[in-house]
């Protein structure tokens, strides 16, 4: 039975999540040097096209199609055959199946785009296109099936992930770590300062991401009403708590509260609350936000000491945030908040915490290892990294033949 209210909210949420990818483009675009701004925007923007096409042709069928042994969907829904305007009760019983499909498409789009922060300023565009296609097919689609697909094996074990702490942020974050290690540091990183070229652009991007995140989390209720309202409020609560925490910690630690730090904190809070948004109350969400701010701040400040070049902190924010949030769900979840969820450790159910912990370890390891294999394949067939000459001149002129700022 189709609900007009639910359908309206799902289509609205779909548009909100779509806007997050251009938002991410700005968020990342401001952080790179001016010679790489367009190449960086292109990573996100191209992902919208590449992944949407993959999704409609076969990605959606692999992720959500009829189950094969809990591992993957079959090909019955290739090119959206059998995906129509009637609801699919297994996923969203009150909206057209096509609405659920296009909503999920936007998640599939932004996830590989998040990884692009790890290899910013030095990857070939051809390699990026092939990487995104392979990664969506071999990492995103299977993991989405395990956790969200009808019959998925992790779902069967009781793993909870409301809006993608595992499926989106842990997969992209740990793949980002693999990518940063595999592709190596940017040329001259130890000799030249590489500060962000346009932080106001990054702030605009963070604002768009925050705005879109309401569709990401509250939309994951797959209906409009009590659960979507809860997720909406917990999302905002965690974001503001993480922002405030980051400002305070940085002020105390470094002597000055930076704008870059504040917006980074907001994204860390949003990524961290994502898996838990529909399973915890607003009070727990505030606590989760504080943890997100503290833990991600520590992760980012540790990076220069460890020496790998996750250039725009895709791992430090999304990998660490997604894993933290998935564990926090195992601590703070309450059946009183959402009867379809579970109680967490703090309500005496340690079992749920162990389940979440196991899921984090598994998804992290799977994403990391399969990404390394994909990167190796892409390196052999097209070459991963641009030449030192291209790197000196920047992605914009070298790869795209244009400049972001023509003066």
């Amino acid at each position: 039975m189709i609900s007009k209210g639910d359908t309206a909210w799902m289509l609205m949420s779909t548009a909100l999540v779509m806007l997050m990818t251009p938002g991410l483009a700005f968020f990342y675009g401001g952080m790179v040097r001016r010679k790489n701004v367009l190449g960086t925007l292109m990573h996100s923007f191209a992902a919208i096209a590449i992944v949407s096409i993959q999704w409609m042709l076969f990605g959606y069928s692999l992720a959500f199609g009829p189950d094969v042994k809990g591992i993957i969907g079959n090909l019955d829904w290739v090119a959206l055959r059998n995906v129509g305007l009637l609801p699919n009760p297994a996923y969203a019983p009150t909206v057209p199946h096509l609405a659920f499909m296009i909503y999920q498409a936007m998640f599939a789009v932004i996830t590989p785009a998040l990884i692009s922060g790890a290899f910013a300023e030095r990857m070939k565009f051809s390699a990026y296109v092939v990487f995104v296609l392979l990664w969506s097919t071999l990492v995103y689609d299977p993991v989405a099936h395990w956790i969200w697909g009808a019959g998925g094996w992790l779902k069967g074990l009781g793993v909870l992930d409301f809006a993608g702490g595992l499926v989106v942020h842990a997969t992209s974050g740990f793949s980002a770590l693999a990518a940063a290690l595999f592709i190596g540091r940017r040329k001259d990183l130890s000799r030249e300062p590489m500060p962000p070229h346009n932080l106001p652009m990054t702030v605009i991007g963070a604002g768009l991401l925050w705005f879109g995140w309401f569709g990401f989390n509250a939309g994951s209720a797959l209906s409009s009403g009590q659960l979507s309202t809860l997720a909406f409020v917990t999302t905002h609560a965690a974001a503001v708590a993480a922002t405030a925490t980051w400002i305070v910690i940085e002020w105390l630690h470094r002597g000055k509260p930076t704008v870059f730090g504040a917006v980074t904190g907001s994204i860390a809070g949003l990524a961290t609350i994502t898996p838990a948004a529909g399973f915890v109350g607003p009070d727990a969400a505030l606590a989760i936000g504080v943890l997100a701010g503290g833990i991600c701040y520590a992760a980012l400040n540790l990076k220069p000491k460890l020496g790998y070049d996750d250039s725009l902190d895709a791992f430090g924010v999304h990998g660490v945030g997604g894993a933290t949030g998935t564990l926090c769900l195992g601590l703070f979840a309450a059946l009183a908040v959402n009867p379809a969820g579970a109680n967490g450790l703090f309500l005496g159910n340690a079992q749920q915490f162990y389940i979440q912990l196991g899921a984090v370890a598994l998804v992290a390891a799977y994403s990391f290892i399969v990404s390394l294999v994909i990167l190796k394949i892409v390196d052999v067939i097209v070459g991963l990294r641009i030449s030192p000459d291209y790197e000196d001149n920047g992605l914009d002129i070298s790869l795209h033949g244009e400049e972001g700022y023509y003066l």
Partner: protein, 112 residues
């Protein structure tokens, strides 16, 4: 004829401009520049990554002047740009070989 090139602080730029106009300077060229002298740089921190900023932003003012007015011009800049702190800048004076007003084709001091 002499070319006076002064590197001054951004915060003093407007005061210097007014001082020069008051002593009768009728034209100047300015550029935003970055450089360093005895003044130390400062530190910037981006997400825990610390950078030493060695080049500080300054304004470069170029004034062409007759030998006769040179002292007045230089004193005007010196007095208006000075705060007494490190980083007040420098004045360079160089010989000016020729000056041409493009519109009329005038040469030498008449063209200044």
């Amino acid at each position: 004829m002499k070319m006076v090139t002064a590197i001054v602080k951004h915060t003093r730029f407007d005061v210097v401009r007014r001082a020069l106009v008051e002593v009768g300077v009728e034209g100047m060229t300015t550029t935003e520049v970055r450089g360093f002298g005895r003044q130390r740089g400062y530190k910037e921190v981006y997400r825990g990554v610390q950078y030493e900023v060695r080049f500080l932003p300054k304004v470069k003012i170029e004034v062409a002047t007759s030998d006769e007015k040179l002292d007045t011009v230089v004193r005007a800049i010196e007095e208006s740009a000075r705060t007494g702190e490190v980083g007040d800048g420098k004045i360079f004076i160089t010989e000016l070989g020729q000056c041409i007003r493009i519109r009329t084709g005038e040469r030498g001091e008449e063209a200044l």
